[in-house]
Symmetry: none
Subunit: 124 residues, 4 copies
């Protein structure tokens, strides 16, 4: 993880989005224990309040649950994860196509442009 923040967005949001993405992309596994608030806070160089807030939004969305004394864990709800993954992927696709179209590319070219880009940058 690298922790550089964009000044123009609340830090707690940037953190919760990052963790959410790691859960959705299964970089963090189902039932895996998350770092403690203190660990994350010191790692990211932010106040523990900020981490608390990030976690509580993840809990509210169901991506994280809390065992009173044992800490926080990635949800066991595999369905939520895969549903979110599909939703996110669809949104990425839609946004990509829409903005490329606005930038003047023909939709028909997009698959080959994508293909070319991948070939030339396989180590991205």
């Amino acid at each position: 993880m690298s922790w550089s923040f964009d000044n123009n967005k609340p830090i707690y949001l940037q953190i919760s989005e990052k963790i959410k993405f790691q859960i959705i992309s299964q970089e963090l596994e189902t039932n895996q224990q998350l770092p403690t608030v203190r660990e994350l806070a010191s790692e990211a160089g932010v106040n523990t309040h900020t981490i608390q807030r990030a976690f509580s939004s993840l809990e509210q969305d169901g991506f994280v649950f809390c065992k009173r004394t044992a800490g926080r864990f990635v949800t066991e709800n595999q369905e939520l994860i895969s549903k979110s993954r599909k939703q996110l992927a669809k949104k990425q696709l839609k946004d990509f196509i829409s903005s490329m179209a606005h930038l003047g590319y023909q939709k028909e070219e997009l698959p080959s442009i994508t293909s070319n880009y991948i070939k030339q940058n396989w180590n991205y």
Copy 2:
């Protein structure tokens, strides 16, 4: 133009990014006069200051220039526009591929996924 703002980002930034995108995508033409500060403010339902701030970042980046008492205009610098367009397109491509890859898609599938999505949603 529709003016709905995301609560998690400064309004002036959302406005300047929107206008920048319109310039880059040539929805707004070279040398075209932009709406006045007061017009935009009332249209977007924000204070004139907020618009001023949005414009001043566009001026600093060279996308907009100001004729003292006549108003503001889209840059004549066609090169800046096309360079920014290419940069933005490349970034979109890169981000799209990278996040799809993280979401578990094989890079090789992406062109055909894109192609299928376009066929099924051609009116979007």
Copy 3:
């Protein structure tokens, strides 16, 4: 004359200071007729009001006088000119020495620094 203005200062002031400097430095001679308001306005690309205002401040300071029907002329008051020239020169000297001193140069070095600069840049 080149007419580029600094956005952060009233244009009429920039114009009157420029003309004043030309009078003091005797680039414009005693009793010499000045261009008309219209000429200057079109040359500088500004409104005639702006030129009027610049002239009236020059008149008030005595650098310019007005013959009702014949136009405006550089003052005949040679003493005012030479006094202003000395004052201005003294101010330049003082500001130069003071700011170089603040920038960390020893006052004693300044004559030789000046001398070196002149030798290396005689065509400035």
Copy 4:
């Protein structure tokens, strides 16, 4: 610091230039904390906005950086500072020589004029 403003120049610019000069001349040290927005505002007798604007131009030029909730600090970029100092000194020299030349002084006299002035005004 004394806070008197020139009516013909935006206050925020006068403030940012003053601070910039203090940084370049190392009157303010690398990494030194600057007064808070509110302190400066009350000291200078201006609105906090005016100070914000002055600071934001200093940030953009890299002379100042901002720690989110801790305040603002002089850049650690010593190279930027010394480069700017040299540039400014050169500009002062050039302007001094050029305007003295226009005022009718021979360039060759300038070093001795400077030297004399310094001897007569050593306490200034």
